[in-house]
Subunit: 402 residues, 2 copies
């Protein structure tokens, strides 16, 4: 039998490590012959655009390089498979199954977020209904950490490590001048505040900053924000506020958006909007910093725990498929924070597909501008350890298709 | 005799290493007793705000931590010493000399950029004129690399390494989707394009991007920029353009600035402005990324060559002062690119003070959107090597005053 893997959704530092996990476990499994990679997620199956991974990943060194290469070596997509009831959808499903059959692919592994798990669920159900033996297994990944059931998602730990390392450096940077200042740091996460909240781990290294943390889960209010900043300015020369990109400014009494040179509305980030608010209402020195895509691709400072777990969960997915499991997504279950122990288990994909896990309200302080020490215990193990990155000419070596 | 050191201007990753260089060389010099740190640059001397560095830096481990801590442990300032002819200036100069005399400080080391070298020049001249034996020695630092005489400036190599590592990761990030895109990366450097130009070293690791590099030295033109982008889009799915923050948009036919929620003009970065231009005129998927202060404070990926040189140039400054030199700034002279060999020499501070060294026009290609391989030879040695960073709880340990 052959197998295939695909990668989908936004890039992370760990998504290639999960592919390595699938690939290396397949090499160890005598029943598996070819391992195909599907180019640009499920689109590669629809368009019959597959590569032979054994020709692409040739040596152990290739595997090591791939694990330290951010983003997705097989490309990605933002493709939502239509419901089987939709007009013309059944032909699409048939086309997918036909492509897999043609290449004798009996197990398909989809590394991705919410949308990819939706695809896994739909295809596994369809395959069961038509009596196909093809198995579909999901492997989670997202820096947003917003998937339910699993303790956390591969890719999140590396993003959180980058964010914390960088916020710590910005704390140093903001402390140099004798003049008082406010620094607003905007962090990714869509509707979920996990990544912004993770900056609470800086406490463990005796940092008092960030002084304020605003999450989408904590109901933003512009007036309260200004009060908070004024109160922190009374205590600290250089106030650091972390804001999640998903906070709802309009519900909190603000307008977002600016008008550019051409008179068109320009959707600026929340950090920018809050920077202007502080300048206007408080009038002190203020700057906003967006950590941007560096949060999802800075593999040079990835978390060793994250990369190792991403590889292990990929390998576990292959074992689950070999046991006949389909319509499942592999998840982490945490047994203990200290020592940190997780197991990997299959879960029914319907429990994850199209569902979001938000940051727990009980970990947000009553002031709605900080998170509790319970959150520190959760986050800390995920950012531990460094990967020994292979370098050339002063720069990390990335895996490239030859 | 005692000595004092101060740090000034914008933070870098190497400015604390130069302080360690001064401190550790002083420990080895039997004639030197106390080593003072002046808080917030020359302001610390004016306000008699000094710390005893031997009480602050107590162990070898402290020195190692300080070398991996970004920004300035002694704080900084943006203070321009008035000319001696200015009304009331002589009193200020007298106050400075009186403070130094009171603490038996016979040598003052100023780690900084253009403005700090101006201070070194003025104070050394004044001291000579009044027959004071106090020596003033400049130690260069700036991520902008825009100081003349010296081959390069401490702090630049680490900034260039961060920028190159990050641009390489953004190249991976931008390549995932099947849809064509343009990514514009805005890089610091004020009026000088050195840091943006340094991304040419990615060639040595077989990267074809950045496809376009725009420097303040290459006369920006909006129409030519759009032509360039269109031409690269015909060749590459994901076009990467690097722009120096100092390019002159208005001279090139553009307006910068946006109007915010309050109707006030908001000075947006050049990356943002060019992003909107591409969206408006070409209509493709486009994003802009500002690397922001991370360029000057990301010590977790600093250049080992830079940190080591920063320490050595600090130590050399102490030796120069002990030889009686004053009104000098220590500079690097490069003897060879490969093997990379530099010497450290004193140069007359008047040759550096208030002067700017721009990126050489002869290294800009005729198309004005790229730099030549000569530049690669210049930049490459400066980003070499990694510092083994001490970590705690998954994060770099920073030196903190106890």
């Amino acid at each position: 039998m052959n197998i295939a893997a695909a990668q989908s959704g936004g890039p992370t530092c760990a998504i290639n490590a999960s592919l390595v996990g699938v690939f290396s476990e397949a090499l160890k499994t005598p029943q598996i012959d070819a391992v195909f990679g599907s180019i640009n997620g499920i689109e590669g199956i629809i368009n019959d655009d597959l590569v032979d991974l054994k020709r692409m990943i040739r040596t152990n060194e290739d595997m090591e390089l791939l694990k330290q290469t951010p983003s997705t070596i097989l490309g990605s997509c933002r493709y939502k498979l239509p419901d089987i009831e939709t007009d013309g959808a059944e032909e699409l499903y048939q086309k997918i199954i036909a492509c897999l059959d043609r290449h004798r692919i009996e197990a398909f592994f989809y590394i991705g977020g919410n949308d990819s798990m939706d695809t896994v669920e739909k295809l596994s159900e369809y395959a069961l209904n038509i009596g196909s033996r093809i198995r579909f297994v999901g492997i989670p990944k997202t820096i947003d950490n917003d998937l339910p059931v699993t303790d956390h998602t591969p890719g999140f730990g590396s993003a959180a490590k980058y964010v914390n390392v960088t916020v710590q450096e910005i704390i140093r940077d903001s402390s140099v001048y004798s003049i008082d200042s406010v620094t607003i740091i905007e962090i990714m996460g869509r509707h979920a505040g996990w990544l912004a909240a993770s900056t609470c781990v800086l406490r463990t290294n005796d940092e008092t900053a960030p002084h304020l943390i605003y999450l989408p889960e904590s109901d933003f209010d512009a007036d309260r924000f200004l009060e908070d900043v004024r109160a922190e300015r009374a205590k600290h020369k250089a106030v650091i506020a972390v804001v999640s990109e998903g906070i709802e400014l309009e519900a909190g009494g603000m307008r977002s958006g600016m008008v550019d040179n051409f008179g068109h509305k320009y959707l600026s980030g929340v950090g920018n909007v809050l920077e202007n608010l502080v300048r206007e209402e408080i009038g002190c020195k203020v700057r906003s910093i967006e950590l941007n895509v560096m949060q999802r691709c800075s593999s040079h400072i990835c978390s060793a725990v994250d990369i190792s777990e991403a590889e292990r969960i990929g390998a576990a997915a292959v074992r689950a498929a070999m046991e006949g499991k389909t319509g499942v997504t592999m998840v982490f279950r945490r047994l203990s924070d200290k020592p940190y122990v997780v197991t990997i288990e299959p879960a029914d994909t319907s429990l994850l597909a199209n569902k979001e896990k938000l940051f727990p309200k009980e970990w947000i302080t009553a002031s709605k501008n900080q998170v509790s020490d319970e959150a520190v215990k959760y986050f800390l193990p995920l950012i531990m350890g460094e990967v020994n990155i292979a370098m050339k000419n002063g720069l990390p070596l990335h895996f490239k298709i030859r």
